[in-house]
């Protein structure tokens, strides 16, 4: 019966790449008008499954692909497109220099041959498609100037315009604010009512549970199962993904006789944040949670000497300091790990070792002005050992590491500078559950063993509840509440942030 209602049904999917099994005997089906969550850690086979569903990769023999009740012997990208199976990739694959309307109908250029382009007609039809889900975007706007959230909607409309019946969303919420996620969900529900099915791939389990009707879990290329949403909780889901029970209770250690390191008094920067005051102690992990755009990153940049405040004071060890630059801040013992490690942190094609020692290059220079490679390697090897970085070799490019391990490389290089204060801006953003765990482990050890004061900026309530001694809630540029994890629940914290 399910087969009749299925838009896409994949059976007995196995895919080997050389000796590696990416998928083993996986069945996966998506029903008409269903939102189907697809979760699994990195390397669990999600992307291979998507590639097979869209014809980019062929499964090993013995598999069966059925689209709307018709058996498809060989699915190609072209065929998948015409059968209405579309992917919205994380990078969206839009043309930033073209208009919204043109992006939506770009595929028509292939078939139009020499016929003239009618802009009026195209813009009218684009308005129609945008109107179908009630998106208010000017079809003549240049896509590159829209917010990421709007660009994403354009990509979805592009799929709808070419008669999509199933839209696969690959990590669609990774770069969205809370409000934007809710807006996206609104549009997804609207399209669902119009009988369009979605596959929703995400690391954010809350969101998966919120939007999906059913969820399929993959682990190491094997399907753990497909579950109706009602049978799932976040804890169960992450257990299915990792095979490990993840405990969400506080894991902090007590601070004995807290000694103040950093104090901030009434820090204000017009248009970004106002009246921010807090204290950070030795060995303390202080959570700073709030929606994107609440000013949390801007405060962090100020503490790192990059974003001078209009008024207010910063004290280090009780003495007032004024940072003229981030160099100055680093000299005073402040480290900052930026939000987007891939863009701002690492030189991806350079070896792991070079990426680790980059913050202390000065100390590796001999009197002759040349670098000491042996010392570089020994420092890097030590760091790799200390922080449990999984790298094929010290001289392997950072690009070859997994996201979590890349994040560890960034962390370890700041620790080499022996900071007193370390600011971590959403360090677990976009990494999978297991990698998150080891990053938490690392943060806790840094605070405990080295007495570093850590300011942890976070998106996730359960994260700050687990790892932090105190939690500051920031909204619209102001710190509105302070909590101790033991006196607050995830639920309450979430309401405080959103409401």
């Amino acid at each position: 019966m399910i087969e009749e209602k299925a838009i896409l049904s994949l059976s007995r999917i196995t895919k080997r790449y050389g000796g590696v099994v990416a998928l083993q005997n996986v069945d996966f089906s998506v029903l008409r008008g269903e939102v189907h969550g697809l979760v699994g850690e990195n390397g669990s086979g999600k992307s291979t499954l998507v590639k097979i569903a869209t014809g980019v990769v062929q499964p090993d023999p013995g598999a069966e692909i059925v689209v709307e009740g018709k058996k498809i012997p060989r699915l190609t990208p072209y065929l998948a497109f015409h059968l209405g199976i579309h992917v919205v990739h994380q990078d969206l694959s839009l043309f930033p220099n073209l208009s919204v309307a043109e992006n939506i109908f770009a595929h028509e250029y292939i078939e139009r041959g020499r016929r003239f382009v009618s802009w009026q007609d195209m813009e009218g039809r684009a308005r129609e498609v945008l109107g179908r889900i009630g998106v208010d975007i000017d079809p003549r706007a240049v896509v590159g100037r829209l917010s990421f959230a709007d660009q994403q909607l354009v990509a979805i409309c592009r799929a709808i315009a070419s008669e999509a019946k199933l839209i696969i969303l690959d990590e669609p919420t990774a770069s969205l604010t809370f409000r934007e996620v809710q807006r996206l969900f609104g549009f997804i529900r609207e399209l669902k009512a119009q009988d369009i099915a979605f596959v929703f791939i995400s690391h954010r389990l809350d969101e998966v549970l919120e939007i999906s009707d059913r969820v399929t879990v993959l682990r190491d290329g094997v399907k753990v199962g497909t579950f109706p949403k009602e049978e799932l909780t976040k804890a169960r889901l992450s257990f299915f993904m990792t095979g490990k029970e993840i405990v969400a209770q506080s894991r902090t250690f007590p601070l004995d006789g807290p000694k103040e390191i950093l104090r901030v008094e009434r820090l204000t920067r017009r248009g970004e944040y106002a009246d921010v005051s807090f204290t950070l102690h030795e060995g303390e992990i202080l959570g700073l949670i709030g929606p994107r755009g609440s000013g949390r990153t801007e405060v962090a940049l100020t503490l790192f000497g990059l974003n001078p405040p209009d008024s207010g004071k910063i004290f280090l060890d009780g003495k007032e300091v004024r940072f003229r630059s981030n160099r100055d801040a680093i000299r005073h013992g402040i480290g900052y790990v930026p939000e987007n490690r891939l863009i701002q942190g690492l030189v991806l094609d350079q070896p792991v070792a070079d990426n680790i020692v980059i913050t202390i290059l000065d100390t590796l220079v001999e009197r002759s002005g040349l670098l000491r490679p042996a010392k570089k390697l020994s420092i890097a090897e030590k760091a790799i050992g200390n922080f449990g970085i999984k790298a094929p070799a010290v001289d392997a490019p950072v690009r070859s590491l997994s996201g979590g391990n890349q994040q560890k490389v960034v962390l370890s290089r700041w620790i080499l500078t022996a900071p007193r204060v370390l600011i971590l801006d959403t360090p677990t953003h976009g990494v999978d559950v297991a990698a998150k765990e080891s990053i938490y482990e690392m943060i806790l050890n840094l605070a405990k063993d080295r007495g570093i004061g850590i300011l942890l900026i976070s998106d996730e309530e359960h994260e700050v509840l687990q790892v932090c001694h105190r939690i500051l809630v920031m909204k619209e540029g102001r710190i509105v509440r302070e909590y101790v994890p033991s006196e607050v629940t995830e639920e309450v914290l979430r309401k405080e942030i959103v409401g």
């Binding site: 694959s93 043309f95 220099n97 043109e102 250029y109 292939i110 020499r114 016929r115 382009v117």
Partner: protein, 330 residues
């Protein structure tokens, strides 16, 4: 909206042109005479035509610096044929350089697509290959003494006026050809699917590939288009000068790139318009003309041209960084 952005660069550039004209007029009133302006338009039609070809390549995210050699080879072959057989038909002469330009452009496209080496390297190499082969074969000999009709054609004007001294001047047929090609290029880029694909490819090549566009066909189109226009420009150049020197055109690549970039074409692809490029060519033409009227040394021309390129590239990079900032904070 695309029109609106391009419009901004164009409006801006038009403003600069007007200011420049006033300055040049104050320095030397001769500048703003119809006679001088028609002359400038005629003498720069070669530059104007190839710059439009360069625009199309730049929009696609590519670049071609071999077009000077293509134009030279194309006009040289034409010169040899028409002087050897004393071809009386100008139309026939005009048809000779075009297929040569297209074929050499196709060769560029083929190498760019197959080798995946950056087009700047491919086309610099081909510049040397085409030009070197021509020098080997021609031994650098000049060609002159074209048939009569060819000489008369070069003096053809759409609009003729007589100066006080009794010399006739006016709107040259070559200027008309240049503007017509600009219009045609605009139509192709704005209203033909292939033109839109050129913008798409320049905007995001990976997305173009995923959308199922035939990338080689687009590349073939853009390099053949500049080859085609180089062929026409080779003809125009030969007619304007009434002689063909193998070394007359090669070396002017930067003028053309400067004109295109000034006109709003981006070296990163995806942006630029024919109107902008026409204005860019006029800007460079006015400056050069001004220098001539002021009797500045030829070396100053080089210095000024270099400065203009640096200025144009800096402005365009600055604009892009503004754009990025805007996007981040919106």
């Amino acid at each position: 909206m695309l029109g609106r952005i391009a419009g901004r660069t164009e409006v801006y550039l038009a403003g600069v042109l007007i200011v420049l004209s006033v300055v040049l007029f104050i320095l030397n009133p001769k500048f703003l005479t119809a006679e001088n302006l028609f002359d400038v338009l005629r003498n720069n039609s070669f530059l104007g035509i190839v710059a439009l070809g360069e625009l199309v390549v730049l929009v696609s995210g590519g670049i071609d610096v071999s077009f000077t050699a293509i134009a030279t080879v194309a006009q040289y072959v034409m010169g040899v044929i028409i002087t050897k057989y004393m071809v009386e038909s100008v139309f026939f002469a005009f048809l000779i350089p075009i297929p040569i330009g297209i074929a050499l452009g196709a060769f560029n496209a083929f190498l760019v697509n197959r080798t995946r080496v950056h087009p700047v390297i491919i086309t610099i190499s081909n510049l040397n290959v085409f030009y070197g082969l021509l020098m080997v074969v021609s031994k650098g000999r000049w060609i002159y003494g074209f048939p009569g009709p060819f000489r008369d054609f070069a003096r053809l004007k759409v609009l003729t006026l007589i100066s006080e001294k009794g010399v006739d001047y006016g709107l040259s047929i070559f200027t008309v050809a240049w503007f017509f090609i600009a219009f045609a290029t605009w139509v192709v880029l704005r209203y033909l699917p292939i033109g839109r694909k050129v913008y798409a490819l320049g905007g995001n090549s990976e997305a173009a590939r995923r959308a199922g566009f035939d990338i080689f066909r687009i590349q073939l189109f853009v390099y053949c288009y500049i080859g085609f226009l180089s062929g026409i420009a080779g003809f125009v150049h030969a007619a304007l000068n009434q002689m063909i020197q193998p070394n007359a055109i090669v070396g002017r690549e930067l003028d053309v790139l400067a004109a295109a970039i000034l006109g709003g074409a981006s070296v990163f692809g995806g942006a630029g318009s024919p109107l902008g490029v026409v204005l860019g060519v006029l800007f460079i033409a006015f400056i050069k003309n001004g220098l001539i009227l002021m009797k500045a040394s030829a070396y100053w021309h080089q210095v000024i041209m270099g400065l203009i390129i640096v200025l144009a590239a800096t402005l365009s990079a600055y604009q892009q960084s503004l754009e990025r900032k805007r996007r981040r904070w919106v």
